[in-house]
Symmetry: C2
Subunit: 762 residues, 2 copies
């Protein structure tokens, strides 16, 4: 009782006071404001337990990333890329380093990129990664910098990056030393490379990448130029020779082995080729290596390198990387919370800013979508759109904090449509990999527009969205089962693992977003049509099980049915990467309608609570990621959101290598944590609204971009009477109490100050 009184007092006393005094920062304890979020980033978070992030050096949305590659070549590794499904160049608990991979994916579920392996060794030349690899220790990582010590060779390695180039600094022992560039291996399953000596200190080449998620046609080249700052005694190549038989095998000394080319110095090409630079190094001699890349041409890779690193200066590159990260991460300041919580938060923000990546070169050129054509952009052309993941929260967070990036991403998506005829589904360096399902560009673009970010070609965007929403399935790259969907309102199950329900659920949310956009654009009929469609999910609701359930072509439910089938990424009839429980509540645009089907609010809340209580919730994948926020749609049930979000944050997001529950999915898991720790979450794509929950920190300042928003910041202040006060009592937005658990995007960005009053118990 006393506590309640104190809280009330604080609320009355502090919040109104602050509303008046918000321009002065003298009330709050801002002693740690000088400490940038940069210093809180722990790049090792998510680097095991299938988080598939990595501690490599990268700039925000940089084309280049430099990652310690440690997933092949030795049984001392716990995980080997070739021994199981594997999708990351780095695993925290592995032991065997085989070089730095250049340009990598972070937080994805399929193998690709992670090639151009740069390895320093000492002693006799060895080009077989199964032999030249090394144990290592003393790992250090911060945004834009990574370092380790190769114990087999006593070599200190450090790497940093600019937007499109890398620099490595190797500190060698005395004696024979070599620097290897291995184009034969990497995370990608695509093979084949060509390289060419340019002069004593420079090589250039191209390597094939692709087959992401085993899509055989999703193939693209990476071009590179590599320079060393010391002329080697020898610059040679290697190529693994094809296995021969008979006479040839008898006579060819290199049959089936790595052949060393010491005299040949023109183009070398093959499945498994590389180059070596040989030195005699003095004790502690440092040699630096630069690599510039491009997805357009070798010439552009060279221009990128020339422009971004005119000379060799490791410290300068590292310093500029730090400045850039500091600038980006400083868009949100937080006060309070534990050191771990700050680390989790800023690392989440860091992971948010890794993908999508810069695709265009310094001269603006980029490879057009699904084409050999080269185009030029004046802005930023982004790539790596894992949209089935990121449409849920990544783009909403970008729209809020990094609107200039989000605008360019939407423009990039629309340009892809212009080039290829389709908005992207899962775009990777100019290839539509067609990974996962749905029509996820629609909610991203609609949501961006509806949040007030409108500096893009909405007419073309609408044309593209309308096309995929309405074209017959046969011609429809986004919605191959659109015929049934349009005529019946659902997608029937025609093959056991056709993911039909998941497909339809994606179409529903896309059509909901499209209907809201259409309404905003004055396209009333379209709006009505797509909204109606978005409610088609009801076909799938099966009263018997109380879940969604696949429907057969004859209209009957699929049998035998087990809503739990599909846990732990096992296949499940009708559902993709999940089971009926993970998908049943995924109609965020019509929770009241779903509740009605389920028998009303109470039945809904009980069932949703059961999902959490009986471990039917999967924190490691996207379909049910917003479930905890759904309680808040019902009066007096929002405390459950607070409870579950707090519990999930504590349980699954940690300042440890296993601190992300599953694939980070190019920042989607991280965005969930970042939003949740700030106390609000965009649980319905296409609806410019957040559901609130109790924040983690005492104060959060979001600096807004004045080109897009009227106010220059949002200050979120939290009154937390006790450390255990995890429930929202009241929220004051500007000078009004928030009447519900929802706050619109417009309210948020114009609020100035938001004050959360928390309490210990509901």
């Amino acid at each position: 009782m006393r506590r309640v009184v104190i809280v009330f007092f604080l609320m009355i006393l502090l919040c109104p006071f602050l509303l008046v005094a918000q321009e002065t920062d003298d009330f709050w304890n801002d002693s740690d404001i000088g400490i940038s979020g940069f210093h809180y980033v722990n790049p090792f978070i998510g680097t095991t337990n299938f988080g598939t992030t990595n501690p490599g050096a990268v700039l925000p949305n940089g084309m280049m990333s430099v990652v310690p590659f440690n997933v092949m070549g030795s049984e001392t590794n716990k995980f080997d890329k070739d021994a199981r499904w594997w999708s990351t160049p780095y695993e925290y608990y592995n032991k065997y380093f085989t070089g730095y991979s250049h340009v990598n994916l972070s937080g994805v579920g399929c193998p690709d990129l992670g090639s151009l392996l740069l390895m320093p060794i000492s002693g006799t030349l060895e080009v077989d990664y199964k032999k030249y690899g090394s144990a290592y220790n003393d790992e250090k990582a911060e945004p834009g910098y990574y370092s380790n010590h190769l114990t087999n060779y006593n070599i200190q390695t450090e790497v940093s990056a600019t937007r499109r180039t890398s620099i490595a600094r190797f500190t060698f022992p005395k004696g024979e030393s070599h620097i290897l560039m291995n184009l034969g291996e990497g995370l990608t399953n695509e093979s084949g490379a060509m390289l060419r000596r340019v002069n004593d200190r420079e090589i250039e080449g191209v390597k094939l990448l692709g087959t992401f998620c085993y899509n055989p046609q999703a193939v693209f080249p990476i071009y590179f130029v590599m320079r060393v700052n010391k002329t080697p005694l020898q610059l040679g190549y290697w190529k693994k020779q094809r296995a021969m038989t008979g006479t040839e095998a008898q006579w060819d000394p290199d049959n089936g082995r790595y052949k060393i080319y010491t005299r040949y110095a023109k183009e070398i090409a093959g499945d498994d080729v590389g180059a070596f630079f040989t030195y005699q190094t003095k004790k502690d001699e440092q040699i630096e290596v630069q690599i510039g890349v491009s997805f357009v041409s070798i010439e552009n890779a060279r221009e990128n390198l020339d422009k971004e690193q005119p000379g060799f200066d490791f410290e300068n590159v590292r310093y500029k990387a730090m400045l850039e990260w500091d600038k980006q991460l400083s868009r949100i300041d937080v006060t309070g919370g534990t050191e771990d919580e700050k680390t989790i938060f800023y690392t989440g923000l860091y992971h948010l800013l890794i993908h999508p990546n810069t695709l265009q070169d310094v001269n603006g050129q980029y490879p057009a979508m699904e084409s050999a054509e080269i185009k030029t952009t004046k802005g930023n052309r982004y790539t790596v759109f894992s949209l089935w993941d990121t449409y849920r929260n990544v783009h909403q967070l970008l729209s809020l904090v990094y609107p200039e990036k989000q605008i360019d991403m939407v423009r990039s998506m629309i340009d892809m449509y212009k080039e290829h005829g389709w908005l992207p589904k899962w775009e990777l360096y100019g290839r539509e990999t067609l990974t996962m399902e749905g029509d996820p560009s629609i909610p991203v673009i609609a949501d961006t527009w509806l949040r007030g970010l409108r500096d893009f070609d909405i007419n073309t965007a609408y044309e593209a969205m309308y096309k995929s929403a309405t074209l017959p399935g046969k011609e429809n790259l986004m919605r191959p089962d659109n015929d049934d969907y349009m005529s019946k309102g659902y997608v029937p199950l025609t093959e056991k693992y056709d993911n039909s329900v998941s497909h339809a659920l994606e179409y529903y949310i896309a059509d909901f977003a499209l209907s809201r956009l259409a309404a905003d654009l004055g396209k009333k009929d379209d709006s009505v049509l797509f909204y109606k469609r978005s409610l088609g999910y009801k076909h799938y609701y099966d009263k018997k099980f109380g879940t969604l359930r696949p429907i057969l072509p004859d209209g009957k439910f699929y049998s035998p049915f087990d809503p739990k089938e599909g846990e732990n990424f096992e296949p499940s009839p009708g559902f993709h990467e999940g089971n009926a429980w993970n998908y049943t509540f995924y109609v965020p645009h019509d929770i009241p309608g779903l509740a009605k089907l389920m028998g009303g609010k109470k039945a809904f809340v009980n069932k949703l609570q059961k999902v959490f209580d009986e471990n039917l919730y999967d924190p490691a994948n996207e379909p049910d990621i917003a479930y905890p926020y759904l309680f808040s749609q019902f009066k007096d049930e929002g405390w459950r959101t607070d409870r579950e979000v707090n519990r999930l944050l504590k349980k699954y997001f940690k300042n440890t290598p296993d601190g992300i529950p599953g694939n980070d999915d190019t920042g989607t898991m991280s965005a969930w944590a970042v939003f949740s720790m700030m106390g609000f979450y965009p649980d319905c794509p296409g609806l410019p609204r957040y559901t609130i929950t109790s924040p983690t920190f005492d104060k959060i300042t979001i600096h807004l971009d004045s080109r897009y928003y009227k106010k220059d910041k949002i200050e979120i202040k939290i009154v937390r009477p006790t450390p255990n006060s995890i429930y929202i009592d009241k929220v004051q937005v500007g000078n009004k109490l928030l009447p519900s658990r929802f706050i619109t995007h417009e309210e948020l960005v114009n609020s100035g100050v938001i004050c959360f009053i928390l309490k210990e118990r509901e």
Copy 2:
């Protein structure tokens, strides 16, 4: 008796008359003079029985050759390149065609080149050569043109060539058709290629070649541009995927197979890649394909193609090839002889003119020797110098009939020294393959100079020759065992199969040639030094066996010794590709000295005769190739030369696919036949002299190049009383009777008319 009288009468009557009337051609029956040698060439001669020639389309000394490639992929082939030692892209009795290979070696003993396989198919796309190959019939070949009919596909194929480019014309049946460019296979054991789509009708790329005779560092690139004259419905790539294991194998649909790339259109690189052009063809629709190559760059390959074939015109290319061959082959006219003999003769001349090849592009650029540097020549830069073979007779024949070629070849050799520090041994596209042994550039250059062809930098040449003749073995690329050779006068056998005697024999003949050159240049001391050295062969003569015999480091002869050991290309201690019998007489510069060792003329002649009588002579390789001419060094024994040469010509040189006794060795076997059929042979390299024998024809006219020789032709007229008159009775040179069996080069080229009077019996 009557016959002798008639012959004498003819001699008296005809030869003097002709000496007067030689400007008028009305006496001789010249009715067939209008028939060019061109029509007598049978490109199928030597295409089986390890002649290793081929019936492909090529210009004289052309860079480009287009050869039906039929040595892999099917058990219907009698010989498979991967099943045994194999060195030719074509075998007459094979059945399975897998495309046209572009740029090939003719008559060599090691595999290389023979790549860029161009294959037309009809029906469903198939890129695996084990499946897409075809049986064929209706082979036709003439200089610069080849044609066949692919029975599996009902496709007529025809090919022709310019100097650096090719053209193919495929006549397709109605339906789906494809044109394949396979860069994954070929005769070379080196692998790896890169190719790139330029536009709908053009691709470009580079393929690695080399490892000739399994020299792993003798590697070089071939660049190409390929064009089609009809836009395909699709242009795609393939690449054989590396075999995967585990999860990757399970998921990758192309694991270990040929993957078809339908969307990717940038650079593709790998061990086994190719491109396909897909058409719907009408019945008998013809599609033409051009390929330009370069050893400098893709740009040069394109320029070569643009300049040599500005448009598609198959007939024009073929016609120009015919004109060029006609011009070159018309340098020698023959009358008389059988049709087969003329065919053998002109085919020999044809084979003589295949190698060495043009290396420079139309813009004069070529790759410098053993370097990545590009240089420019104003003349012709030649490549493919199989000098251990060709120094014996090829360059002597070129000096006589094609002096402008020989001069450029010598200049090329000297330039190689300037670029690389060494004259060539076995040079292949800018690589010193170090195949076979000795110092064979010395006799070639010395011989050329001594024949009066002197328009080259003799000072640099001498510097280069002196270097290899005198540098210690450790630093000596040409003579690695020069220390013992210089100090002891011979090379001892230090390893069983070190070919030590063969090495020394090559040094002796080189030093003999060098001593003659030194004398000519006024370098008396050098001349004496090298001449003395050239007699060191005497160390090897073992009286016990009456042959040369390896010497051990302690100075004793190698035991146990069998002079026959080494027949049929079996290894032999001390001797390379032969046994003691094949080498014992190989001191052509000191036959009198050798005879003395053997116990005089009679012992020598008997022993040499025994070589022929007891099948100790190997007509299939070079060491004993000049043996039949050695009889003529002894008075009254020249008839044995006539007999053996006539016998060997009849037995081993035929107008049949097996019509060359062994590897043609880039024209060396053919040059032996050409010289022998004309009645003279240069049996001692470095000595500008020929040994005569009875010619095959009734009249031979050698048209001389007036830029190099005073007379414009040599007319050789043969009086052959009966068809069996194979022995020389008398020879009249100009207006003098030849007093011996020798004629100097100077006498020959200034003779005007030479009249051979033959007789039936000795």
